[in-house]
């Protein structure tokens, strides 16, 4: 590794030493749970590390809390998805309940899909769900939504593009 590559990491290290304790405390106050706070404090620095090298400015704590807030909200959302999913399979007949092995693969896939749906405009999302979840053909969707086939394709393209941009 060249010294140029190392520089941002050194910077991160000093940032970590100076602010990790503070960030952990801040998260703990927001979440009321020390181990979740430790998790997210850790993830915040990982997120920072993965960013292209940059200066952290004169207010590193503002940047840290900005990232941490996004992570907290994402975590809540993932928990919401998990809860909704568990409720959903709790109502299935026993024969249709996924095995423990596949159950978590499905949950992870659902969480990724949910994350993608957030980036889609309303009509594209609706079209996407009808196509990918309900299994309707583009023709059937056009009929159901009362739009042209071209519009369905345009919305599907937009939806796919949103998915690929998030991934």
């Amino acid at each position: 590794m060249s010294s140029i590559d190392r520089a941002p990491n050194l910077h991160i290290e000093s940032l970590y030493c100076e602010h990790h304790g503070w960030l952990h405390g801040w998260l703990n106050r927001k979440l009321g749970n020390a181990s979740d706070a430790a998790d997210l404090a850790h993830d915040t620095f990982i997120r920072l590390l993965s960013k292209p090298a940059r200066s952290f400015g004169s207010e590193p704590r503002a940047l840290l809390t900005h990232i941490a807030k996004g992570l907290v909200v994402d975590r809540w959302r993932r928990q919401d998805v998990e809860r909704a999913y568990l409720e959903s399979i709790a109502h299935l007949p026993e024969a249709e309940v996924p095995s423990p092995e596949t159950r978590w693969l499905i949950l992870e896939a659902l969480q990724r899909i949910d994350n993608m749906l957030r980036e889609m405009p309303e009509r594209a999302r609706q079209t996407f769900l009808l196509s990918q979840i309900d299994g309707l053909t583009y023709g059937q969707i056009a009929e159901q939504l009362g739009v042209s086939l071209i519009t369905v394709k345009r919305d599907m393209r937009e939806a796919f593009l949103a998915c690929l941009s998030v991934a």
Binding site: K30, N33, A34, S35, D36, A38, R47, K51, K69, V72, V73, W76, R77, Q79, D80, V81, E82, R83, A84, Y85, L86, E87, S88, I89, A90, H91, L92, P100, E101, T102, W104, L105, I106, L107, A109, L110, R112, I113, D114, M116, R118, E119, L129, S131, Q132, I133, D134, G135, T137, Y138, K153, M156, R157, E158, F160, L161, C163, L164, S165, A167
Partner: protein, 317 residues
């Protein structure tokens, strides 16, 4: 983090996805996609994403996905906007709109309660009774003028009842009922039987299909199946340490310990037969089962290997 891909290339990948799913895709289209993806590493990467996306969509049964997103729409505790608000962030204009526009505040009281794997939830009922619902549990609350009844469908609950001489307090499982006689106790429902531990007052266990009822007093624990009760035993202090977020083991088989830890983490936690019988003593944090596994790895001749966070195997070193 994921590498950046040229948005133009992503747009072309989206075009191909639409074409392949249009119902009008030909053999020539499939061949053309193969050529397209070989044009550059970025093209290949973009198509990898496309295939991962299709994989995710295939992995989820349509009915489950449908139902889950429906529930999310009605059941989300907070929208992103409210969540950020709660964190002290004010959005001027948010381009990222949450899936549902109309979300209910999660404080809204509901009779059906559920905890996710690894989650513990405190709940105060209208009569003042306190519930601490343990990991991976589901219960329904049915209060009437005559009685207070909790149906424990899955998992475990610790109950501190509020005094109400007029209405008895009953926990019902698939195996029968436990009736509280002014008390603090926990009920855990398993495959074959339900376990009851009493720290204050007393609880009467009644198997579903008649059989003899049995009263447990403070400092005792016992169990019941559909048609019988198990003999009373002195309360094992470790039985209720989950309330403090700890699992306390005294000469516990490793397989049993992992089984117990597994209740608090999503996914599969496998124990190799060669180490299942190892004897373990110690205190293990339940809120951070990764740390618990590291602790085990540091103190026992075992290796913890994980394919993903959801697939962990404990093997001989």
């Amino acid at each position: 983090m994921n590498p950046q891909i040229d948005p133009l290339i992503l747009g072309e990948a989206a075009d191909w996805l639409v074409q392949l799913q249009s119902g009008a895709a030909t053999e020539a289209d499939h061949r053309a996609v193969q050529l397209w993806r070989n044009r550059s590493p970025q093209h290949a990467l973009a198509w990898q994403r496309a295939e991962a996306l299709l994989g995710d969509l295939r992995a989820v049964p349509g009915s489950v996905a449908n139902d889950t997103f429906q529930r999310l729409r009605h059941n989300t505790r907070v929208g992103r906007r409210q969540a950020l608000h709660r964190l002290g962030v004010f959005l001027l204009a948010g381009p990222a709109v949450w899936v549902a526009a109309r979300e209910l505040p999660w404080q809204q009281w509901s009779a059906d309660q559920r905890t996710a794997i690894g989650e513990q939830k405190h709940l105060t009922l209208p009569d003042g009774t306190q519930l601490l619902i343990n990991t991976g549990s589901a219960l329904n609350i049915a209060f009437s003028r005559e009685e207070r009844r909790i149906r424990l469908l899955e998992g475990e609950v610790l109950i501190t009842t509020a005094k109400d001489p007029a209405r008895s307090f009953i926990v019902e499982t698939r195996h029968g009922t436990a009736r509280a006689l002014g008390t603090r106790f926990s009920v855990r429902v398993g495959e074959q039987s339900s376990q009851v531990a009493v720290t204050e007052g007393a609880v009467e266990m009644l198997p579903q299909q008649g059989g003899q009822g049995l009263i447990l007093k403070a400092g005792e624990q016992g169990g019941f199946s559909r048609d019988s009760t198990a003999p009373v035993q002195p309360l094992d202090g470790a039985a209720l340490t989950w309330e403090q977020g700890m699992l306390v083991a005294r000469n516990m088989r490793l397989a049993d310990l992992l089984n117990e830890l597994g209740r608090y983490r999503p996914g599969v936690l496998r124990c190799h037969a060669g180490v299942a019988g190892l004897s373990v003593s110690g205190a293990f944090p339940l809120h951070d089962t990764d740390a618990s596994l590291r602790l085990l790895q540091d103190t026992l001749p075992i290796r913890v290997s994980s394919l993903t966070r959801y697939w962990v195997a404990v093997e001989p070193r």
